[in-house]
């Protein structure tokens, strides 16, 4: 690349400016990250300076009621944990098996039908999934498990639908990973008399393992950051519970509810969404970084 560009005629004077303009465009992305870190950090600091808030209590207390000075983030964290866990219990097995089917079994015709369906699932706005959870899944759950056990708002319904939402993400990234495994490995396995199942499970999947883990991690990160499904279906009002049939508010749900009203600047409420946002940003960023490292690894091995 570098060498090729040396073939070009020397840039005209104005064109040097263009280069720097383009660089400035690239720098906007850096500024975005810096802006996120700076703003979230600054307001979070203000939040932790609010009388009555301290970091230890924030991370260990089980009551979140900023209005009356209770600042324990655990209820929001557990709700995020429960909904994400349910989502992953749906999305990981379904997403992986779908990926294995599409990559190792499906003929061209089956792929031509199945892949677009998964792509459509991936393109549906999350608010629509929220509606689906509230008006389709929740009534079914209430009929099956009993109205006295399941609330109109519950984490189970939100988690299940979130799993469906994440399914295409996991299946498409894992399929890419499976696809990147060289054909020669499969041919060798078949040549030794392995069945399709044995080839898939004992040769291809282990070879693509880092890519599959990357997909799962990315899925977890998506589940943690998902807002609209939980805001609509999981309930509003923090509750410290691990029971998926109960309503509870996640971190994202809290941010959405609090900022939906008239939010005054520099109130503890206002600052608290930045503190929770910072927590969210850090968790998802670490997950994304790990995932990218893993993807890069399987690319290095086979490309």
């Amino acid at each position: 690349m570098e060498l090729l560009h040396r073939l070009a005629r020397k840039p005209k004077p104005g064109e040097r400016i263009i280069k720097y303009l383009l660089l400035a465009c690239g720098l906007i992305s850096i500024l975005t990250t810096l802006g996120i870190v700076f703003e979230l950090g600054k307001e979070s600091l203000l939040f932790f300076r609010t009388p009555g808030v301290d970091l230890i209590d924030f991370l260990t207390k089980t009551e979140w009621q900023p209005a009356i000075g209770r600042y324990g983030v655990l209820p929001l964290l557990t709700a995020t944990l429960v909904t994400s866990l349910i989502a992953m219990l749906v999305a990981i097995p379904l997403g992986l098996t779908a990926a294995i089917y599409l990559s190792e079994y499906a003929g061209d015709r089956a792929r031509a039908i199945l892949k677009p369906v998964l792509e459509v699932l991936a393109g549906i706005p999350t608010i629509v999934y929220g509606y689906f959870a509230l008006t389709f899944i929740t009534p079914i759950l209430r009929d099956v498990i009993g109205k006295e056990n399941v609330g109109v708002y519950n984490m189970l319904s939100a988690g299940l639908v979130m799993g469906v939402m994440i399914l295409p993400l996991i299946s498409s990234i894992s399929e890419d990973a499976l696809h990147a495994v060289p054909h020669s490995l499969r041919e060798a396995a078949f040549g030794l008399g392995a069945t399709r199942l044995e080839t898939a499970m004992q040769v291809v999947v282990p070879a693509a393992f880092s890519g599959i883990i990357a997909a799962v991690i990315l899925g977890i990160s998506r589940a943690i950051g998902e807002t609209m499904i939980v805001a609509v279906a999981a309930g509003s009002g923090p509750a410290f519970t691990f029971n998926p049939l109960k309503a509870a508010e996640t971190m994202t749900g809290y941010i959405a509810r609090i900022s939906g009203g008239d939010l005054g600047y520099d109130t503890p409420d206002y600052n608290s969404i930045f503190a929770i946002g910072l927590l969210l940003f850090m968790v998802t960023m670490v997950l994304n970084l790990i995932s990218r490292q893993l993807v890069a690894r399987f690319r290095e091995v086979y490309e």
């Binding site: 660089l23 779908a98 999350t126 509606y131 299946s171 946002g277 998802t284």
Partner: protein
């Protein structure tokens, strides 16, 4: 292992049985894998079913005034002059003069007047509403309900109708619509494109064509990949802090002489959404630029072009379909995005169409969210109809992207 093998080879029958068993296992799991994929299809089907089920269905309407009390002719045959006379008689003086100021009643079309007549005079109110399935399978129940509802009219209603598209938000679900939200979405997307497309393509050109492998460029690249994975709600918080609050002077329009605004404007929303889709546009554009053959550049350089001339006249036109496809996909993400806009401060109860980048606004997903969270069932039907509008627009936008992609790949092969 060796022992096992020798055992097997001694007994060919056992070997064969093992092979049969293994093959059976293989095909059993094939079916398991397929069924997992089918679950995805079923989920999609259930989702579409839910939306259609809620969009259509019987409603029981009760009129405030029965049309038969006012006119002898049935509503279909009523004439324009008769409608004008009824409206003038039934509506208050202020109301008539307000309508006259918009367009004089006499000059309005019969359809327009009929709509006014129904909305202002008859004022049908939805007493009871049913889903499509209930309408089909529970006719008996519905009829019983109808019998105990005085003056009730049973009407099969498609909540996805003209009213929905041309009316703005209202406190009566019968006449509520998404016009304001549609305009809001259009304005926001326009601002998003104007900001994110040039910046995104510019950044991608820099990274693909100019950047050497220096540290800063690697940092930019890693950073962009990372930004693509940041939850959308975090962008909302950023937008609130930066655009709504810190740049209040600009986003409220004070700088441009617009009075009395706060920062919760279309401009803030569009820019926030622009930051959100920027990494997507950059990544997609980079991919499109990478697909441009080297020979094209070599030929251009060989003819004595500068690097920028080569990019502008050859690389960009060649990559444009790919760039546009990527941009369209990013835009469709922005159209459906809800969470960041809640935080940036989309209003939920406005009836005034946005008139520029400094207007208060609502967008389609926010309107849907608002209707979903209302307890009245009628609003859920409205939400379903609005979702139908949202999905249809997303589908047509994506169809354009797919068409572009196909044309593009055909040319390359």
């Amino acid at each position: 292992m060796n022992e096992k093998l020798s055992l097997l080879s001694d007994n060919p029958l056992a070997l064969e049985q093992r092979v049969i068993k293994r093959n059976r296992q293989s095909s059993f799991w094939q079916r398991v894998y397929l069924s997992a994929t089918v679950v995805g299809i079923l989920a999609l089907a259930a989702l579409l079913y839910t939306i259609l089920n809620d969009t259509f269905g019987y409603v029981i309407l009760v009129n405030k005034v029965e049309p038969t009390e006012l006119t002898n002719s049935p509503l279909e045959d009523i004439t324009q002059t008769e409608l004008v006379a009824i409206l003038k008689k039934q509506l208050s003086k202020g109301e008539v003069s307000r309508l006259d100021k918009e367009i004089p009643l006499e000059n309005r079309s019969t359809d327009d007047l009929k709509a006014l007549f129904i909305e202002k005079v008859i004022q049908p109110k939805v007493i009871e509403n049913y889903t499509l399935m209930e309408s089909i399978f529970k006719r008996g129940e519905i009829n019983n309900k109808l019998l105990v509802t005085p003056n009730g009219n049973l009407v099969f209603r498609s909540w996805f109708n003209k009213t929905l598209l041309i009316r703005s938000m209202s406190n009566r679900p019968e006449t509520a619509g998404i016009r304001t939200a549609l305009y809001g979405s259009l304005w926001m997307i326009l601002i998003t494109i104007l900001f994110a497309f040039p910046v995104g393509v510019g950044a991608a050109i820099y990274l693909e064509e100019y950047a050497s492998n220096s540290r800063i460029n690697k940092l930019i690249q890693i950073n962009i990949d990372n930004l693509a994975g940041v939850p959308s709600i975090v962008y909302g918080i950023l937008g609130l802090a930066i655009f709504v609050r810190a740049f209040l002077f600009i986003t409220s329009g004070q700088f441009f002489g617009v009075e009395g605004g706060n920062g919760r404007t279309l401009l803030s929303a569009g820019l926030t959404m622009g930051l959100l889709v920027l990494p997507l546009i950059i990544i997609n554009t980079q991919e499109a630029l990478r697909s441009v053959p080297l020979t094209l550049k070599q030929a251009s350089y060989g003819l004595g072009a500068t690097q920028w001339q080569t990019i502008w006249h050859h690389v960009l036109p060649y990559a444009m379909p790919g760039i546009l496809t990527g941009t369209i996909l990013a835009i469709s993400r922005a159209i459906g995005e809800t969470a960041p806009l809640i935080i940036v401060g989309a209003a939920t109860l406005i009836t005034k169409d946005p008139s520029g980048p400094f207007s208060q606004f609502t967008v389609l997903p926010i309107q849907i969210y608002n209707w979903i969270t209302r307890p009245q069932q009628a609003y859920h039907h409205l939400a379903a109809a609005a979702i139908l509008v949202l999905l249809i627009s997303l589908l047509s936008i994506n169809a354009v992207a797919i068409l572009l992609r196909n044309r593009y790949s055909r040319r390359n092969s």
